[in-house]
Amino acid sequence: MSFPLLTATAALPALGAIATAAVPAARRTAAKWLALVFSLATLVLAALVVVRFEPGGARYQITESHAWISDFGVRYELGVDGIGVALLALTALLIPFVILAGWHDADPLEDTRPNRRWRPTQGFFALILMVEAMVILSFEATDVFLFYILFEAMLIPMYFLIGGFGDRAHAGGDEAAATQRSYAAVKFLLYNLVGGLIMLAAVIGLYTVAGTFSLSEIAEARANGSLSIATGTERWLFLGFFFAFAVKAPLWPLHTWLPNAMGESTAPVAVLITAVVDKVGTFAMLRFCLQLFPEASKWATPAILVLALISIVYGALLAVGQRDMKRLIAYASISHFGFIIMGIFAMTSQGQSGATLYMVNHGISTAALMLVAGFLITRRGSRLIADYGGVQKVAPVLAGTFLIGGLATLSLPGLSPFVSEFLVLVGTFSRYPVVGIIATIGIVLAALYVLVLYQRTMTGPVKAEVRAMPDLSVRELVVVAPLIALLLFLGVYPKPLTEIVNPAVEHTLSDVQQTDPKPEVEAAP
């Protein structure tokens, strides 16, 4: 038996989580380093996966399959296609930065007044690694039941990360902070749990229809005609799956948990939510909705495209109206998730490749912007945009990185989000021109909210409160610089990524039996 590489990529951070949690209370720094080392080791394993993956080869590679609950046909089946590889790499890549950025976020407070909550540093980093393990495994699972368990289980560590660790300073004082934090955490949990339970019903329904949970077996049965799902049943099952993914993604009007969760948690956790955990939702739409229910997916496409369009414009407009910079980034993310979902359901190779790239690029760009915003918030102790002004003058490097993160968010060419956004737009436009044109409004609105944010925080006369603000420290620079380098590299040369993703997208498109629209005119060479 060959080395179970995929299991290892998930087992390593899980082991790391246990090890980190077991570090004695006094050795906080050791726990941090341990977590960082484990996350870096996971990155190495993820790199191995990328190297071993052959873009032109079989659909699912590096597969593993073991019997698990044989009475219900549940198997422990793993395998990655190009889409999974890309997202696995993104997750493994971002976690070290998340850990490094949150280095001091869970330190116990200096003063020891009895009502101050003590922050268990070990727990913070252990939970982050736990989330990493579950997310990675969910990108690898090719068994619907296994995926479902991970999809739900990752809510638990996320719940504690959101509810247990917040910004040090809060406008309403510690009491209000704790109340709002627990509200956000409960909202996150309940929202996703409702989605998950509806999905559970659909998972059971799928089993009664298909008699198996294995993606490959279902695909095989479909291909040789031994499995045919009635149209009505297929649609109900599709809706059950899609609802859960749309909550996670999140799609309008199921989005309201995201601004709360991202606003109340610390910046690294907010990155974890939007850049990593939410990607499971959009990833699952590509892998499960389209593959299991191709006909129903096509049936639902018009409605989903409309919702995605609303998400794009609505999220952007709300981002413009925010006074809290973390909530602003959250609404911007909602707009971007609209683009991703639109690309997936445009059902063209440009749209879906673009959507996959979008997931990766949005992860990197939001991480860059959010982490710098977090550094800013740590310095000044406020999330309100109006409390800043003129930061550019006192901390030019911080302002510069913030601007680059912002420019990536507004999809400036030369930075990687442009590639994916344009692909999504072109892919959508070639099948649904009107939808594509309306979505371009998002481009203008993105410029509006990013530049307004930058103008109000970074330019203008220097406010008294920010006058003594230090520029980025070495640790913070180490977090931001590689992300920016990656944004630039993938913006100019995204080919390594597209080569991995394109074949997988072709497979998905053949699942739903769609081909790209042909151009009207055969252009002269």
């Binding site: 490749s353 072109v426 594509g436």
Partner: protein, 631 residues
């Protein structure tokens, strides 16, 4: 030889990267490095130019394919360059004038602590603009297009500590983004129509597509051009962009940025030729902007804003010419080049004046400067004569040809366009004479600045005057050089095509008419500003004057409709999101909470209450059993 093309862009790009990432260590040499790399790009441009002159016909077009940028199935975007006569013209203009502006900035920005960064941005601007004109497909052009937008954002808002500068920068970027939306839709339309967006295949097969498609693409390209080139209705950013340092204004107005729209339309000539309706719209936009800019330019007391109005108007000429089709493309580009010389010279002159006048921009507080700043006076004066079209100078040739081409459009349209261009020429003569008189002639109206310092006008240092002198040479001789023997027409014809239209009136008549309106405009300005003293505070003015001072109320319209409307929209959406969407969610939670609260009351702890429910339940069960049996 074609391998040099990438170096054209690489040199300034390297400069931008090094200067922006280099940190304070480079503060002492940064400006020299930036200038050197801009000059290096110019030298490479000249080498390529001489090489191009050595070849003939189709051999003049060079291609360089670097790598595949975004390959997804049939969507193939490459990083590849194309250098033909049209790009070459732009390369020389951008790098040449750009280098001069770099040199000028060394002196102009001497006392700014962030000078290194300024040069980094300037280099970035050149690199983006070069990418724009050298790209061989529309997506790469879009890359450069947005890069120009970014660079202009950074430069207009260079003095970020001033809220007005930061706002102006944001406005420029946003208005440009509206235009960019047009370009991206155009690229998408090309992709669905032709399956590609490379220049060669798209422009080579315009005849095969329907006219409706071509019109749509053309209009979208026009929207893009309106944004970058500050044409009505997206012109509002240009005046505010004067918040940037003066060399930036020179760069934006003469060598880069605003010329991009003209380039785009000329480059896409084949598309517009296949879409007469789109061409008509282009011409109308050009004509409207031509008059709009000129009227605004007449009313501004801020020297830079007056010049900005003039730029808008002159670009209007170019867009109009480009909209005329093969009759006008060549002249649009020719006017663009000559305008590049004299407008850069005028802006640098204005900067020099400001430099000597404690950064005062209000022309009403100038006056009589010709004796104190002789070099600036002469170079500015030559630029002035060039722009109004004084016989023999650059502007005379290029503008005259556009007016002729406008008449040559034929029919009623030709007469209307011809009259509009003539009227524009008259107003140009008026407002430029006004600027000249208020600045350099008349009595001194100097006022102390806010710190109480009385200005002591003095000639600027050599680093500033030498570029001005070189540009003045260009302003004087470039037009004649291009026009004699139709050199420029022959140079560009292989790329843009050329068709000599049939004008209803002779060329000599047009020239004569131009001279007449020129004298009229200048004389009127002299009557109003030269013959009698200029008041230091602006008079109230007529309704038109007041409207023109406020950019013909276009900004007010934007403010009321877009800004206020947008604010209301976002505010109400925030409210809706909080109360309605989130309200449903919280409402569901609350209703479950309320229901359980009510159910909880049943559990009151009294054993007898529980006993009642037990007996009641039993009774109900028995009754039900009996009923079932009875049925």
């Amino acid at each position: 030889m074609e391998n040099l093309i990438a170096l054209l862009i690489a040199a300034p790009l390297l400069g931008a990267a090094v200067l922006l990432c280099g940190g304070r260590r480079l503060d002492r040499v940064g400006h020299w490095l930036g200038t050197l790399l801009a000059a290096a790009s110019f030298v490479i441009g000249v080498v390529l130019f001489s090489d191009m002159l050595g070849r003939s016909g189709d051999g003049r077009t060079l291609h360089q394919h670097l790598f595949s940028w975004i390959p997804v199935e049939s969507f193939q975007a490459d990083v590849a360059f194309q250098l033909d006569q049209l790009s070459m013209t732009f390369v020389l203009l951008i790098t040449g004038v750009g280098t001069l502006i770099h040199i000028y900035s060394i002196g102009y920005m001497e006392h700014d602590e962030r000078r290194r960064r300024f040069f980094g941005y300037l280099n970035l601007f050149l690199a983006a603009m070069l990418l724009l004109v050298l790209a061989d497909n529309y997506l790469l052009l879009y890359f450069g297009w947005e890069g120009v937008g970014l660079a202009s954002y950074l430069l207009i808002g260079f003095w970020q500590h001033k809220p007005s500068a930061a706002t102006a920068a944001k406005k420029a970027f946003l208005v440009n983004r509206v235009g960019d939306m047009g370009l991206s839709i155009a690229v998408m339309l090309m992709f669905t129509t032709f399956g590609t967006f490379a220049f060669g295949p798209v422009l080579g097969s315009t005849g095969d597509a329907t006219e409706g498609k071509m019109t749509a693409i053309g209009l979208m390209l026009l929207l893009a051009a309106c944004g970058k080139s500050a044409q009505v209705p997206l012109q509002s950013w240009l005046g505010d962009a004067m918040e940037g340092p003066t060399p930036v204004s020179a760069l934006i107005h003469a060598a880069t940025m605003v010329t991009a729209g003209v380039y785009l339309i000329t480059r896409s000539g084949a598309i517009f030729n296949a879409a007469p309706d789109a061409q008509l719209v282009v011409v109308v936009v050009g004509a409207v902007t031509l008059l709009f800019g000129a009227v605004v330019g007449c009313a501004k007391d801020d020297i830079k804003k007056a010049l900005a109005g003039s730029t808008m108007s002159q670009i209007g000429y170019m867009i109009l010419a480009a909209g005329l089709g093969p009759i006008g493309y060549v002249f649009a580009i020719m006017h663009l080049v000559t305008h590049g010389f004299f407008k850069a010279g005028l802006f640098l002159g204005a900067g020099s004046v400001m430099h000597g006048m404690n950064d005062e921009v209000d022309m009403r507080k100038y006056g009589g400067l010709r004796k104190h700043m002789p070099v600036t006076f002469v170079t500015f004066g030559l630029g002035y004569l060039a722009i109004i079209g004084f016989p023999g100078l650059s502007g005379f040739f290029s503008k005259d040809l556009i007016i002729e081409a406008a008449f040559a459009k034929g029919g009623t349209q030709g007469w209307i366009l011809g009259s509009v261009t003539l009227l524009g020429a008259a107003i140009t003569a008026f407002y430029m004479t006004r600027v000249m008189l208020m600045t350099f002639f008349g009595e001194k109206r100097w006022q102390p600045d806010e710190h109480g310092h009385q200005p002591h006008p003095h000639e600027s240092p050599k680093s500033m005057t030498i570029p001005m002198i070189i540009l003045a040479f260009g302003s004087v001789f470039a037009g004649g050089f291009f026009a004699i023997g139709e050199r420029f027409v022959h140079w560009l014809e292989p790329v843009t095509g050329y068709h000599h239209g049939e004008a209803p009136i002779s060329a000599a008549t047009v020239t004569g008419a131009t001279m007449v309106v020129l004298v009229l405009g200048a004389a009127l300005a002299w009557l109003m500003y030269g013959r009698r003293p200029v008041p230091v505070t602006a008079p109230r003015g007529s309704l038109l004057t007041r409207a023109a001072r406020r950019d013909l109320l276009q900004d007010d319209f934007n403010h009321v409709v877009l800004v206020r409307g947008g604010e209301h929209l976002t505010r109400s959406l925030v409210y809706v999101d909080h109360t309605l969407v989130d309200g449903v969610v919280n409402g569901t939670a609350a209703s479950f909470g309320g229901l359980s609260g009510r159910l909880r009351k049943l559990q009151n702890g009294y054993a007898r209450t529980y006993a009642v429910s037990m007996f009641g339940g039993t009774a109900v069960l028995i009754a039900a059993t009996l009923l079932m049996r009875a049925v």
